[in-house]
Amino acid sequence: MLEAYASALETLFQPINLAVLLAAVIFGLIVGVIPGISGLIALSLLLPFIFNMPLEIALILIIALHAVVFTGGSISAILLNLPGTAPNAATSLDGYPMSQRGEGARAIGASVTSSMFGGVIPVFFALAMIPAIMPMIMAFGQPEMAALVLLGLSFLGILSSGSFTKGILSGMLGLMISFIGYHSITGVHRFSYGTAFLFDGIEIIPLVLGLFGLSELLYLFMKGQPTIALKTVDARLTDVFEGAKDVWRHKWLWFRSSVIGYIIGVIPGIGAEVATWICYGQAKQTSKYPEKFGTGVVEGVIAPEAANNGKEAGSLLTTMALGIPGSTVMVIILAALLMVGITPGPTMMDEHLPLALTLLLGIALANIVGGIICLFAAPYLARIASVNLDFISTGVLILIFAGVFTVTLAPLNFLVVLCFGLLGLAMKLYGYSRPALILGFVLGASFENYIWLSVKIYGPLFFFRPIPMVLLAIIFLMVGFPYLRKAFPRLQGRSMRA
């Protein structure tokens, strides 16, 4: 085992591999910052080159690029309320208000540090988890997945700030939107009128960019604010490192979120968005001042970013150890391995352990390199919040629509962005929860799918199984926690530094 680690490190630190890693990290950060553009888009245009490269270089390129896309995405989420990727939407909830208060550098520091270590630490216990992965995945059948998704949905109440009814309404709207399109269980076209555009329903990128990005631009213009920040931003490196220290101050939150993200990544069938929103929700739930979430608290940045990168490490492990890709980028990695005759699975971990370790350590190293670059760039990036809003809004608007078209190739999605922009503005003004809508949207379709599969395979009493019962108990605890805390003051968390 130690020899395998040594071999993996030796491979990773070869000059050519390091150069490829660095180039991929820079490219991945840039891609991540651009709204809507995910790692998959960037990888798809590199494909012709990737498959002609030596295997190790190709895999390092793929893994390093993908590892830092979410880190890049968090920067635009924090500075502009424009999530670079859909999972970064949770980061913008508190990151953007911090930026508006002139604490953008600190928010970036916290976000980058959290994702850096969120992608590093799980790698080291990944190998220890290999014997447990297959039994864990086999234990999560349709009822268990339904219960897990229900756990995610239970955060609807937690994510709503203010009115409970409005939070549930927002979540239900998200669920309704998720039902649009072809229903694979029955072959029925729901709310789509048989059109190809709505066959797959509303796509998440235009929805998120409209709901958060465009709505914010509309709001700022309505308010007549000259800049994003409410005061001149004079960000320094010390502010960035203050954010990094915040991660240490909230190390248990960071660790918990990283582990949750990792476990969700290991289980195929649950998207990255779920991990970030669940971790945001549990951060709020366990905070001493949950009502301050959404106004710019650093925990609201630390939790989702730790989950983002933890998830990717878990997803890679499942891909390599079992040959089950957890995301579309993992499909590319799987294809690359199959092309050279390496079959992902238990045999890969036996026969090609150094290669597997190279990839896992590659994620860790890419996160560290990306993190360092972002930490030093943060003070300069944070000053965007002081730039005249007319220029920012013009640029951001253009990037939103260019990004949406590049990803979806359907001009009708411009209208989707506009509609959700107007909806997002109304929700912001009148106290409805946009995070709850997103959570309902990302979980709705899969929840329905798992419920019907469970009913058809196990019968209507499918919830009476060990894991679903445990998860239901957790749901009751989570929902009841605020009331328990009022009854038992000793359950209050550590004091929150906002």
Binding site: F51, G141, V331, A410, N449
Partner: protein, 347 residues
């Protein structure tokens, strides 16, 4: 006032300059198809995601197209609506031969059989260039499960077979197996990925599913799954040890048409095609190139290497066009048959 007018004129001139490259058309007719393509941009539309089998094949095709036509080939993945968006896009494209498509037959034909309203095309209208690598469907099970033979299946009761979307080939294939073998079984829909199918079979939630060997390759190699029989009248060259269904049971004449459908029209094949109405000479040129590539050892090796296994068959565009024309006439019959099976076997 004058300043303002000058500004407006300058802006208009600028706008027109930007628009100019998009305007205009070839005023001179190209002498030959080869002359036509030289220097142009070909948009190669792929109906699957980047990194998929179809996408990887399309990138090999793109490189050979660039080499042999002198055109710049841009690969665009349009995978919305289960690949339907890409197919529709190609169908609606200009007939100049500059938009070509790489799609899977497994998406093209079932949509029309099941009268998918969003499928605006007719299968017999496309200009087919070549089919690459027909992949037959097999019934795949878990090697650890209690059902390892047709006899086991026929002896079982209230079996559950895995399906994906209701009108997709995996579900329809599952129903075909139930029908042909006379099983006491239902097909459950919603297991939308091969990973879901393989895991469900290993957990014992389903007895197996109908899929291509190609899509299940990593699960077969890792020992998570194994094929029981091939849904065809002949064995699959990829798994020569696995019997065809016709070797295991007697198939009635009526049902042989169904088996024949699975090994022709519904076989999972990469289809290289152009929109309807492409000029005959350009189509003949592209078909000629494709035929040359199919004979080219280097091309075949590249296709084999990106797919991870030996691709046995290349079918000419003329043959594919004929197959699709014959199939188009019988779509209604198959539609009724599948509708009947859905009513009987859907869980």
């Amino acid at each position: 006032m004058l300043k303002k007018r000058i500004k407006i004129i300058l802006v208009l001139i600028y706008v027109l300059m930007l628009a100019a490259p998009g305007c205009g058309s070839d005023t001179q007719q190209a002498a030959t198809p080869a002359d036509f393509y030289r220097g142009k941009t070909i948009n190669l539309v792929v109906s699957h995601s980047a990194g998929s089998y179809t996408d990887l094949v399309s990138r090999v095709l793109a490189s050979y197209l660039e080499r042999d036509t002198g055109a710049n080939v841009i690969v665009t993945n349009r995978l919305g609506a289960g690949g339907l968006e890409g197919i529709n896009y190609v169908y609606r494209s200009e007939t100049d031969g500059l938009t070509l498509g790489v799609i899977t037959q497994g998406k093209l034909v079932p949509n029309k059989i099941m009268s998918e309203p969003a499928a605006i095309y007719d299968i017999e209208d496309f200009s087919y260039i070549m089919n690459i690598g027909a992949c037959l469907y097999s019934f795949i099970v878990s090697p650890n499960g209690p059902y390892q033979s047709v006899a086991d299946l026929q002896a079982g009761s209230e079996l559950i077979i895995g399906g994906a979307s209701l009108s997709g080939p995996i579900t329809l294939g599952g129903m075909t197996v139930v029908e042909l073998l006379g099983l006491d079984a239902k097909v459950v829909t919603g297991l939308n990925s091969i990973a879901d199918q393989a895991l469900a079979a290993n957990r014992g939630e389903t007895v197996g599913w109908v899929g291509t060997i190609r899509s299940a390759l990593s699960y077969l190699d890792s020992g998570m799954s194994e094929p029981m029989f091939v849904l065809a009248s002949e064995r699959d060259p990829l798994v020569p040890h696995v019997p065809a269904i016709t070797e295991l049971i007697d198939i009635q004449d009526d049902d042989m048409a169904l088996v024949h459908l699975w090994e022709t029209g519904l076989a999972s094949t990469v289809v290289f095609l152009a929109p309807p109405g492409v000029p005959e000479d350009r189509l003949a040129f592209l078909r000629g190139l494709a035929a040359e590539w199919a004979q080219d050892e280097e091309f075949r090796e590249e296709i084999d290497s990106v797919t991870g296994f030996d691709v046995p068959t290349y079918v000419t565009g003329e043959t594919v066009a004929e197959t699709m024309s014959d199939l188009a006439v019988t779509l209604d019959d198959f539609r009724d048959k599948f509708a009947e099976m859905i009513a009987k076997y859907r869980a």
